[in-house]
């Protein structure tokens, strides 16, 4: 990010920006940056906190009025809302999953499809309330994503890729992201503060979809398809959740 600021400013456009990793910004020395004490992935602090987001935005834009010289690196003083341990409640997913119905699907796929069925009304509610969904990376519906991921587990590189405009690796990546998006959108449909860690631990530790993605790691890292292999190795399971592969 700091390098982009340097190149854009060098083309004659004034820049200001947000720093999430102060150490790297200090080394890159962009013209004007505001370091914020927030989690990676949340440069404006917290979702659904418009006043706080505006405060961060104003602080970043205000650097444009400073006379210099370069570099200017200020620190934003406030933690993100919900970021202190006192703000956390012991969140649990409000949706309980039914036992798998007897179907012809292999058991893990049956359980994932059952979860999706239970979560669907909540995901639809979240989409209606927010006026948007982040689903779409896989370019197939969520049931098809689940079936494709399971096919990668059972059929390997010969799994049928329903996303005709994506490579198998891109479809694998998109389907795994859409699964997480679908589950999180559903789980956060009801009002109430929940941390990213609680959501991640729930998805990876308590859902069959998480179990499916974990099961794909050892299988797909040896895939004959290099794109599928690459996703399995570095784009499937966050580092913070790799410990689950040891269980």
């Amino acid at each position: 990010m700091g390098a982009l600021a340097h190149y854009i400013e060098d083309e004659g456009v004034p820049t200001t920006g947000i720093s999430l990793v102060r150490e790297n910004t200090e080394r890159l020395r962009p013209p004007r940056f505001l370091w914020v004490p927030f989690e990676l992935g949340r440069p404006y602090g917290a979702p659904d906190e418009p006043e706080f987001q505006t405060k961060v935005l104003r602080a970043a834009l205000a650097l444009l009025q400073r006379p210099g010289p370069s570099p200017i690196l200020d620190d934003f003083p406030d933690p993100a809302p919900g970021d202190s341990p006192a703000d956390l409640t012991e969140w649990s997913c409000p949706i309980s999953f039914p036992p798998p119905e007897s179907t012809n699907e292999p058991d893990l796929l049956s359980r994932v499809l059952g979860e999706i069925s239970s979560l669907a009304p909540w995901q639809a509610l979240a989409e209606k309330q927010r006026g948007r969904t982040g689903l779409g990376a896989a370019r197939m519906d969520i049931d098809a994503s689940a079936r494709f991921l399971h096919a990668l587990l059972t059929d390997g590189a010969s799994a049928h890729n329903p996303a005709t405009d994506l490579s198998p690796g891109q479809a694998f990546r998109g389907a795994s992201e859409d699964m997480k998006t679908f589950y999180v959108e559903a789980a956060t449909a009801r009002p109430g503060r929940v941390s990213s860690r609680e959501l991640a631990d729930w998805f990876w530790g308590e859902t069959s979809a998480g179990a499916l993605l974990l099961a794909l790691h050892p299988v797909c890292r040896d895939s004959a398809d290099p794109g599928v292999r690459r996703v399995a190795v570095g784009q499937l399971i966050p580092r913070a959740q790799l410990k689950r592969l040891e269980n």
Partner: protein, 154 residues
């Protein structure tokens, strides 16, 4: 903090071991008061319109996000899995503060919002690899009359 303390040792190493380019120049362009500025966002969150191409790993290209984009037309295909996406899944503005910018424009705090914003995939490459496309975006911003580029990582 960015919570380096909360990250796994592997994540901390990955973040801090980046080969950050050292620049010999220190450009610093002045501009008018904020209420007269035209603002664009440049993000590395791998955002794009739903029917635009997904970002791939090691992708140095950028996607154009129209200034009047509807937030329900945005998806994220950034290559990394090692940052929180749950905030974005609940509220785009935690990553791309377009609603906040629009409010500031309505209130007269900024002059205008650019016709186009730009999104990169900020993973899988060293910072210096973005020089060609970064400069290209700089020229496009200039053509659009932008005099406040807001750079937002993820």
């Amino acid at each position: 903090m960015v919570k380096l303390d909360d990250l796994s040792p592997g994540s901390v190493r990955h973040l801090l071991d980046k080969d950050c380019a050292e620049f010999e120049t220190a450009p610093f362009v002045a501009g008018p008061p904020l209420r007269e500025r035209r603002v664009a966002i440049v993000t590395t969150a791998g955002l794009h319109r739903r029917d635009d191409r997904n970002f791939d790993v090691s992708d140095l290209s950028y996607r154009v996000i129209p200034g009047d984009v509807r937030l329900d037309d945005l998806v994220m295909t950034q290559a990394s899995v090692n940052f929180d996406r749950t905030g974005f899944q609940q509220d785009v503005n935690v990553v791309l503060p377009l609603d906040r910018l629009r409010e500031m424009q309505m209130a007269g705090e900024i002059g205008s919002i650019a016709n186009y914003h730009y999104a990169f995939n900020g993973a899988g490459q060293l910072p210096a690899a973005f020089e060609a496309t970064g400069r290209e975006v700089g020229r496009l911003l200039k053509e659009d009359g932008v005099n406040a580029a807001l750079l937002v990582p993820v």
